[in-house]
């Protein structure tokens, strides 16, 4: 789900960098409000490495296999650090595997990062519920995992399909987007389920990890 170099018009690349730059600045401001931003840097970095490695694990779904993206999970755990972790991960991916690209790093960060921030705010709602906390945590975990992925997929499909071919008529475009979203719907369910499992695991084993 990365847009490669050369595919999209430069105006979109630049817009991607502009939005990424602005949001990064905002994320850095939010991070500075932390009680101890310095202590969180190693945590966020190691988790960036861990998420990056996780994205290399393949899950077989015959006849193909998918890899997890978990940007919702990153948002839920890392909060605003996720918006720094994601471009770093994408940068590694572009440099090491030529997956994605340097000119499209901004756009790809927007595609992955904004949904992560949305997922963070969605998951934070659990602090507001007082009754049936366990159930709500599960529901919100699923929602952040699935929603972040769907949002990313929508952004990706919209950018890729609408910019690649300005001459395509609107109906064909819309259909292409719908078709691709069915596939991503399945992945969203898987990502949501894994996010629920991960959050329950962490709540049991290392609850402080959920409160960075």
């Amino acid at each position: 789900m990365h847009i490669p170099d050369g595919l999209i018009p430069p105006s979109v690349c630049l817009a991607g960098y502009a939005i990424t730059g602005g949001t990064t600045w905002y994320a850095l401001q939010q991070i500075k409000k932390d009680s101890n931003p310095q202590a969180n840097i190693p945590k966020a970095s190691l988790l960036t490495a861990a998420f990056f490695v996780t994205s290399l694990i393949h899950i077989p779904i015959p006849p193909t296999s998918i890899h997890l993206i978990l940007n919702g999970m990153m948002g839920a755990i890392l909060g605003y650090y996720a918006f720094l972790a994601i471009p770093i991960g994408l940068f590694f991916q572009a440099v090491m595997f030529n997956h994605g690209g340097i000119s499209t790093l901004g756009v790809n960060t927007v595609i992955m990062g904004l949904p992560a921030i949305a997922a963070y705010h969605l998951f934070k709602l659990r602090e507001k519920v007082s009754r049936k906390r366990e159930l709500w945590t599960k529901i919100l975990a699923f929602a952040s995992g699935a929603f972040a992925l769907l949002l990313s997929a929508t952004l990706f499909a919209a950018i890729a399909i609408s910019t690649i071919s300005p001459d395509l008529d609107a109906a064909t475009e819309r259909n292409a987007i719908y078709v691709s979203l069915i596939g991503y719907g399945i992945q969203a369910i898987i990502e949501g389920t894994v996010t629920v499992m991960l959050i329950s695991f962490l709540e049991k084993v290392k609850p402080e990890l959920l409160n960075i």
């Binding site: 490669p4 170099d5 050369g6 595919l7 430069p10 690349c13 990064t24 850095l28 991070i31 931003p37 840097i41 190693p42 945590k43 966020a44 970095s45 190691l46 988790l47 960036t48 490495a49 861990a50 990056f52 490695v53 996780t54 290399l56 694990i57 899950i59 077989p60 779904i61 015959p62 997890l68 978990l70 650090y81 720094l84 972790a85 471009p87 770093i88 940068f91 590694f92 440099v95 090491m96 030529n98 997956h99 690209g101 340097i102 000119s103 890729a160 690649i164 071919s165 001459d167 064909t172 898987i190 389920t193 894994v194 499992m197 991960l198 695991f201 962490l202 084993v205 290392k206 990890l209």
Partner: protein
């Protein structure tokens, strides 16, 4: 997991000798100029420019091919349909299938841009150790927090990768077969990822303590002198190379604008 990114970083070539922060500015300028190209007529020029830079870098051709293979298939799959879907001028008709000129042109532009940008970014990141690239980005004003996070994540990438390999091995020896898709396997995988997160987190706590003990975050009073670029004789050459590359980039942009308007 192999991070083969520094494999050819220590060769000797004009591109290797080009100081990394100057190289970043120059080649990134070129990459963005390439991304702007619309005109078919400029495609041969950017191919030749890319060819010259790649030749100067002395990176083996086999390395380029191996790095282009996977993303190459991806881009071909993406643009495959364009010649049949877009445009009015029919080049070739075969039953229902019509090959159209405008579609072919768009596909050609996308593919050439893609291969040239990838080759240049391979030269940019393949001709210097990854750490120099990060230092270069820092001297160009990347925020310290991001630099620190990138360095730490990079440093522990291989270690975390090794961790997950060993854990998968241990699971396999206890009979786990991940080649099926079922609920239990998803659960096992989630636990594996969870354990990975917990172990990375615990490691990070120790790393932080070790960093603090060696003075991390302590700002010496005269820090500014370090950031000043030292201009020596070699550095003028680095700057000249950057200015040359940027002029090419600007020239390409100008030409593209000229052809588009005309």
């Amino acid at each position: 997991m192999k991070l083969a990114i520094d494999r050819y970083a220590y060769l000797d070539s004009p591109i290797h000798r080009w100081q990394q922060n100057c190289k970043i500015v120059g080649l990134l300028g070129l990459i963005f100029a390439f991304a702007f190209i619309h005109s078919l007529i400029l495609l041969p020029i950017i191919i030749i420019t890319t060819g010259i830079i790649f030749f100067l870098s002395r990176l083996p051709f086999s390395y380029l091919v191996s790095r282009l293979r996977y993303p190459g298939w991806f881009i071909l799959a993406v643009v495959f349909l364009l010649p049949f879907m877009i445009g009015e001028t029919i080049l070739f008709q075969w039953g229902e299938l019509t090959l159209k000129l405008e579609g072919c042109q768009i596909a050609a532009v996308i593919v050439v841009r893609f291969f040239c940008i990838l080759t240049i970014s391979l030269v940019l990141f393949g001709t210097a150790p990854f750490l120099s690239t990060i230092k270069g980005l820092r001297s160009l004003g990347l925020p310290q927090v991001i630099v620190d996070m990138t360095l730490l994540a990079y440093r522990y990438l291989e270690e975390v990768g090794e961790m997950v390999n060993t854990m998968e091995r241990a699971m396999k020896l206890r009979g786990f077969d991940k080649h099926y898709f079922k609920y239990r396997n998803l659960q096992v995988l989630a636990r594996l990822i969870g354990s990975l997160l917990v172990r990375s987190y615990e490691k990070s706590t120790r790393i932080y303590q070790a960093m603090i003990l060696r003075g991390y975050g302590y700002q010496p009073p005269s820090n500014k002198s370090q950031k000043k670029l030292v201009l020596n004789k070699n550095h003028y050459q680095d700057l000249a190379a950057t200015i040359l590359t940027l002029s090419i980039a600007l020239g390409l942009l100008g030409l593209d604008l000229f052809f588009t308007i005309r």
